[in-house]
Symmetry: C2
Subunit: 202 residues, 2 copies
């Protein structure tokens, strides 16, 4: 998604070879037009799959789940994060380890809003270790819902997240895949669509 990569090149702050800040347009201040375009792109990439609900995790996935829900004409659902290990009743829940914060938290979804009739598209802002997304995949499966796949806005392709999700049998599309970065420079991988033969869907 060229518009997104251009913004990352122009406005992204690369603090180290692992830390990219995009808080001027994606996840603190949000460019609503860009967010809507991201939602339309996820809808396009998963157009071959019926989707009844978009799923994300609070907080920074919400704007992209909303945009994708708008593009698809379906509701979205966001998992809540809690430190408490005590499980509430009637929720699907999964533990997520945050390597950044060195702590484990729980993500949870009310069982009322996810079930075998749902066809779910998971979206999030970043794919890095994939821990939170793997937790969402686990919840979708526990609910007996069908998983269309995972859409990520920015993928740090040098981290293990995509491998983790693909190893779970999940189809992943990311809109900007960063092969490597260092302060002052960012290298993107080719878009999947330009690598894949025309007409192929995974």
């Amino acid at each position: 998604m060229d518009m997104l990569k251009q913004r990352i090149r122009q406005e992204g702050q690369i603090l180290s070879d692992k830390v990219l800040k995009v808080d001027s347009f994606l996840n603190h201040q949000v460019d609503t037009e860009l967010a809507l375009a991201i939602g339309r792109e996820f809808a396009r990439l998963f157009a071959d799959k019926p989707v009844t609900k978009v799923l994300t995790v609070e907080a920074s996935g919400i704007q992209f789940a909303m945009a994708t829900g708008i593009a698809l004409g379906v509701p979205f659902l966001y998992a809540k994060k809690k430190k408490a290990v005590t499980l509430a009743e009637n929720v699907y829940s999964a533990p997520v380890h945050s390597f950044t914060r060195q702590e484990t938290y729980q993500i949870s979804i009310s069982q009322k809003y996810l079930g075998p009739a749902d066809k779910v598209l998971i979206v999030d802002d970043f794919l890095a270790t994939g821990a939170a997304l793997a937790g969402l995949v686990q919840i979708v499966r526990e609910a007996g819902a069908e998983l269309a796949g995972v859409g990520c806005v920015v993928e740090k392709s040098f981290q293990e997240g995509r491998g983790l999700l693909e190893g779970m049998g999940v189809r992943v599309h990311s809109l900007a895949r960063i092969a490597s970065m260092a302060p002052g420079e960012v290298h993107f991988m080719d878009d999947e669509r330009t690598v894949q033969p025309i007409g192929e869907t995974k």
Copy 2:
């Protein structure tokens, strides 16, 4: 906003005379069409004020800030919540006491994204004690930005939030004002627009 009140009557779960759950359509699962309509209504209510940026606080304000940003064609910004009392550099910050959780947290906004050139509309899902919204107002004023006002989706009018904000000189519009409630019944106040003389703006 009749559509909203109808959904609250139909789907809201009133757990006590103070606790209303609307997580089937507003703040866990989100009806994207309704959220967009809410954004359009905030845009309409503040149409007499120029707005350059919508402001909210994570997580459950994000979908309404996004919808309002879409309706107004402006970006939105969400304050981050942190337990840490240590202040990061270059942020505007305010303490917020949560009566529900009996703890005080900090909300903060990067100074890069708010300044004297901004005309800000604050939105959130609930107005109850008004603590988080008062913190956002304080941040807007610290930044030297102009405040158009505060828009809330659901107001618990029997709590002190509106009084607190109006006491700070803030114009408040809420889309559903609950005068009182108890399990099985909810009583709304009249819409402000039907109470105010036509053409009046506060």
